[in-house]
Structure formats: C-alpha cells, structure tokens
C-alpha cells in the first residue's frame, strides 16, 4: 500500500523544494488585485494548500477504487453464505472431523474397530461307534469358534481400507490323523497311521503357568479406491464376490448355525488374493446392477502368498437387485476359472566323486521343481433372494468341473471309498461337483408387541455332490430352527438338522445335530 503513495510524496517533496520560489512569481502577479504585497510564507501556505487538495483528490479516487473492490468481495462473500455463519464461530476443519467421526471421507480419520464372535452349543445325536463320530463329538459341547475383528479406515473421500482378522484357538484340537484299522473277520490290521491331534499348549517360562495359544487368520485385507459408483478398484485379499452366504459370512448375519457344505468344503474359493474391479449401475434408484471382475492367484496350497503356476484365477460376477416397497429381489451369477498347482522343490548340486562341487558344468547349483498335482477348475454359480412381506426365499447353486493335468494321488481311505482295494494306487479323476440349497425364513410380524425383538423361524434344504465319482462324500441336509434377535447386536439361534448320506449303508443311517448359538456383533 505505501509503495503506491511513494510517487505522490516524491512529487510533493519536489514541489516543496525547488519549484516553490519560481512558481511564487505568478501568484505574486495575481496578488496586485488585492492591493497588498504578497508575503513569501503566505504564498508557500497557499501552495501547500493547493498541493494538499490535489493529494486529497488523488486519495479520494484511490479510496473509491478500494471501496468498489471491497463491495465486490462482500458480494462474493454473501453469495457464499459466509455472512450468515457468524455464530458458527471459528471452525477448525480437524475439530469438525473429530465431531463427525468416521465416514466423512474428508481426510485421515481414526481407525474404527468393529467385530463379532459366537458361542455355539451342539451335539451330534450319534453313538460313539458311529462313522460320524470321526467328524464331531458325540457329547454336548460348547465351542467358541471365532472372534472376527474389523479395522476400517477412510483415508480420503475415495480411499477406504478394511482388515478383517479372525482370532481362533486353532490349530489347537485339530485332528490331523485318526488311526485306522482294517478288519478281516476277527483280525485287525493296523494301517500304521497314528492318531494325531494338535496341541498348542505352552508354558510361561517366568510364571510356569500353561496355556493354549491360538491363531490369527487374515480373512480380508484390502484397500479400495472408489472414484465412481460404477468403478471401484480393490487390491489385497478379498472375499470372492459370489453368492449370498460368502458375503454375509458372519454368524450374526447368517440365519442358521451351520453354513452349507458348499461353503464348508469351499466348492468356490471363499477368498482370493489379487485385484477386484467392481461397481454399480443405477437404471433407477430402486434397481441396481452390480458387477465385479477378479484377477487373483487362484486356488493353491499357498495362494495367499505365492502363485505356483503362471495362470491367474479369473472371475466375473453380475447381480441385479430390485428394492421396492414390499418386494425385494436379487438375482446373481458368478463364473470362475482358475488353476490349482502344487509343487515340490529340490536343490541339485553337481558333485565330483570326492563330493566337492563340480565346477566343470555350467550351473553346478540348480533347483528342480516338480509338479505333484495340477488341475484346472471351471465354476458356475447362481443365487436368488426374494423378500416379500417379511418372508424371504434364499437359494444358491453351483457347478464345478475339475480337469486334471497332473492327477494327485488318492489317500488310501479315498481308495477304499471308491470301491477299490486298499492296496491299489489310484489317482484323483476328473470330476464334477454340484450342489444347491434353498432356505426360507419369515420374520414374524410381532413388532407391535415385542419390538425391538424379532423372531424368525427358518427351514433349509441342501444337496451337495462333492465329487460325482465319490458317492460316499455326498449328502443331503435338512435344517429347521428359530432365530431370535433381542437387540440389533445379539442373535440367539436354535436349530435341528439332519444329514442324510447318499451312501446310507456305509454310514449306517442319518446323523442328527442339535445346535444353539449366541452370536454377538459390536
């Protein structure tokens, strides 16, 4: 601001000094009309007055220009609404984001932690010598299966991070092997396989107390970039976007206690490591079309860490969802192709007869990788969910074709269940697996009397053909039960189910399971 006034001050100073005397003459010449001789000081004063007036005019012009600029700015401010925000006070952006908590998407925010866990109580209604006793205990047992923790973070409006970690007591209690015997007449033949059960018991070296340590499984860990509704890019470990159950997956959300066999036996890979591009289109606000494309390591013995073959698993998911006043309808499909490969590695060292390295060859130290099992799998699955007046029908189906490139060796129990002699060497054949379940549940319209408690009876049927070449592994399952929700965060489930093996004579009949579960989310 001062700089602008410098020329005027310079002019003023010049006028005050040299030009004062010569310019006084004309003023003196004008004075004779007064008849009095001009005083030199008076002339100077007059001159100063004139210059001051001139400067005042110049100042006034500048001030007018400033005023105009200020008015323009004020108009802008008014347009922005800031004039009416005086009583909002000084607003610090970070302070406001603190108040907002998570999800505003405007900057780094504290990690939010959520989760769920469940306590189950169940019994297989079987005798101790039943074939099913190999799968589950025949006594009433309490079990804490899992504690899942969610860590979410919104780094910016388009970047979201999610880690879901599962805490479990496993591998404690896992039965690696059960001893098995063949019986011919009264003679028992030991297969030589010992009974092995994992124990994770350790002793604290300081306090000497003993405890069983557990494990942490990374269910999901991914970063999602979401610039548009129709385009989201996710990188990391993610749940395979197929069906309904695999996405629901948490005990407080799924209706029965036990998941269907297509989930338990992982007929479709439940999770993958790689990239997913997904999005949603809106033909209308009550009709959504979702898609997802996945590229991952595919299935493999260590797929979370390494892809043991050059093929990537590719998946495509499409789902159409309609949400009306009373009717909700969702129809989806998923296709997947991937290759499973297992290998073993060996180091080969070229040696001389005296067991020193043979440096005469080009590469005396090499690695040999042998593929011990490899197959390609083609999987198609579909899902349907219809809700009308509180009644929901949910169904999923899958079809899986396994084509071996390198057939894996069958374990001896698989050999026997295939109908061959235990001494034979057999390999897993190409096979087809398929299965489907249908579940119906109805949230009873009792909210008028017992709100917020909800009671939802359900029934479910499932058929799973795990391998069309192995009838001994194929089952039907019938479930029925009750789902009671005393609060949005707690679910109590009561369930009775019956497993019906297709090879009934092998197992000696059906297996009934009674189960209860308390699932809690927080």
């Amino acid at each position: 601001m001062l700089v602008k006034w410098i020329p005027y001050w310079c002019v003023a100073m010049l006028l005050f000094t040299a030009p004062v005397r010569p310019q006084a003459a004309p003023q003196q010449e004008q004075q004779p009309s007064n008849g009095a001789p001009p005083d030199e000081a008076t002339q100077c004063d007059a001159r100063i007055d004139a210059l001051t007036k001139e400067m005042t005019e110049l100042k006034a012009n500048e001030i007018a220009e400033f005023k105009q600029a200020i008015e323009a700015l004020q108009q802008q401010v008014e347009a922005a609404g800031e004039d009416s925000l005086d009583d909002f006070g000084e607003l610090d952006e970070l302070e406001m984001l603190d108040e907002l908590g998570g999800g505003s998407g405007q900057g780094p925010e504290p990690i939010e932690i959520h989760g769920f866990y469940d306590l189950s109580f169940f019994k297989f209604m079987i005798s101790d010598d039943s074939a099913y006793a190999i799968l589950a205990p025949s006594e009433w047992s309490f079990i804490v299966c899992q504690v899942n923790l969610y860590f979410t973070g919104q780094m910016s409006s388009t970047l979201h991070s999610l880690v879901e970690a599962k805490l479990a007591f496993l591998p404690h209690g896992m039965e690696y092997n059960t001893a098995s015997y063949g019986k011919i007449g009264d003679t028992l033949f030991d297969s030589g396989v010992p009974y092995e059960r994992a124990s994770t018991m350790v002793a604290d070296p300081h306090l000497t107390n003993r405890f069983n340590y557990g494990s942490v499984t990374i269910e999901r860990a991914h970063l999602t970039y979401s610039p548009y509704d129709w385009l989201n890019i996710l990188a990391g470990r993610f749940l395979t976007p197929y069906g309904i159950w695999n996405i629901d997956h948490g005990s407080p959300v799924i209706i029965p206690v036990r998941a269907p066999y297509m989930q338990l036996r992982e007929m479709v890979p439940l999770a993958q490591t790689g990239l997913q591009v997904f999005g949603r289109f809106f033909p209308s606000y009550s009709l959504f079309i979702d898609y997802a494309v996945t590229v991952s390591n595919g299935r493999g013995p260590i797929e979370e860490l390494v892809d043991l073959d050059a093929n990537k698993g590719i998946g495509l998911r499409l789902r159409v969802i309609y949400e009306g006043e009373q009717l909700e309808l969702a129809v989806g499909g998923h296709g997947y192709y991937g290759k499973y490969t297992d290998i073993k590695k060996a180091s080969i060292i070229e040696l001389n007869p005296d067991l020193t390295i043979n440096t005469d060859v080009d590469t005396p130290l090499r690695t040999q990788i042998d593929v011990i099992e490899s197959y390609g799998e083609y999987i198609l699955s579909g899902d349907l969910q219809i809700s009308l007046f509180g009644v929901t029908l949910q169904s999923e189906a899958f079809w899986r074709l396994v084509l071996y490139e390198k057939h894996g060796l069958k374990e001896y129990d698989f050999v026997i269940l295939s109908g061959a002699a235990a001494s034979e060497i057999l390999y897993h054949p190409n096979h087809i697996a398929w299965g489907a379940y249908g579940m119906i549940y109805w949230e009873l319209p009792l909210s008028k009397w017992i709100h917020p408690v909800t009671i939802t009876p359900f029934a479910m049927f499932e058929r799973t053909i795990q391998e069309d070449t192995l009838p001994g592994f194929n089952f039907d399952l019938i479930f029925a039960g009750l789902n009671i929700k005393p609060s949005p965060y707690v679910v109590l489930k009561l369930e009775y189910s019956r497993g019906i093996p297709h090879a009934k004579t092998l197992y000696g009949g059906n297996a009934d399971i009674a189960a209860a579960q308390l699932a809690v989310s927080f």
């Binding site: 406001m96 907002l100 405007q106 879901e164 996405i247 209308s284 949005p488």
Partner: protein, 162 residues
C-alpha cells in the same frame, strides 16, 4: 328380429355414450377438486434436504436420498462424492427423516448397519450436532434440517419433505 336387434344396438350405443360422458364429467370434477386444493405453504417444521453448494445438482428424489443414506450410492450425478450426514440419534428430526426416507425403525437401522459392517466393512454415516455447518463445510455433504433452522445461502435446498 333384425329391427329389434338394431334397436338394442342403438340403446347400447346411447348407454355407452352416456357412460363415457358421465365418467369424463367425474374425472373433470375430480381434477377441479385436485386443483382446488390448498396451495402448499412453507412451514417451520418442513424438513429441508440440503446439500453442499459445490454439488452441481438442484433437486433429488426420496429414492436417491435413501440410496445415498444407506450407502448404496456413493456419488452425486455430477460425480461429486456424496457424504450423508445424519442428525444426532434420538433427535426428533432424525426420527422423522428415517420414517420419510429410509422407512426403517431405529432398531432396524441399527441392525442394517451391523449387517453392512459384517458384509462389506461399511460404517454408518457420521452424525453431527449441527448438520447445517457440516453441509456448509464438507464438499459433497448432504443432510437435513428443519426450515426454522435453515439459513439462506449456507447450503442448497434440493428437496422439501412435508
């Protein structure tokens, strides 16, 4: 027989014409009645749906609001990220908004967000004691205030719920 049939057809024709005229008259009267309804008057307890002024939209629909507040839709039509902001739980306006837009009860909404968290790791929209301030400050933000709490120029009104 022929002349009697012709007579009947004529009678039917007359009846049909009379019916058409009567129905038309009823519809016209109903239309007048609809037109004659009282003009809409702004009330202090109208719920204004307000959006940050940087969002380049002028109006919305209840279905779009529902999709945004349930985080089924994450962007406005101009591409701006939509940030739904709720009034505090337990406030009168929150209950009214829930009833008019999402159609959920409080416990149903809690259950919905628990499910969304388990399924997708999605958090519920943030709550803010002064939604007007939040909408003014946050690009893409959308919220709701009573007309009596609204101040002109702070945010853009895109829908009025009465």
């Amino acid at each position: 027989m022929t002349s009697r049939s012709t007579q009947r057809f004529r009678e039917y024709g007359q009846y049909s014409r009379m019916a058409v005229v009567a129905i038309t008259a009823v519809l016209v009267l109903l239309q007048f009645r609809a037109d004659a309804q009282e003009p809409v008057v702004d009330k202090p307890d109208d719920i204004l749906i307000i959006v940050n002024k940087a969002v380049n939209i002028d109006q919305t629909q209840v279905d779009e609001l529902k999709a945004i507040f349930l985080k089924r839709k994450a962007n406005w039509s101009d591409g701006t990220k939509a940030i739904p902001i709720n009034a505090p739980e337990g406030s009168k306006i929150r209950e009214a908004f829930r009833r008019l837009v999402t159609g959920m009860t409080r416990s149903r909404e809690q259950s919905f967000w628990q499910t969304q968290m388990i399924k997708h790791g999605t958090n519920r929209p943030p709550e803010f004691a002064n939604p007007l301030k939040a909408v003014f400050k946050l690009r893409g933000a959308v919220s709701y205030v009573y007309r009596s709490d609204y101040r002109k120029g702070v945010a853009k009104i895109i829908l009025v719920l009465r």
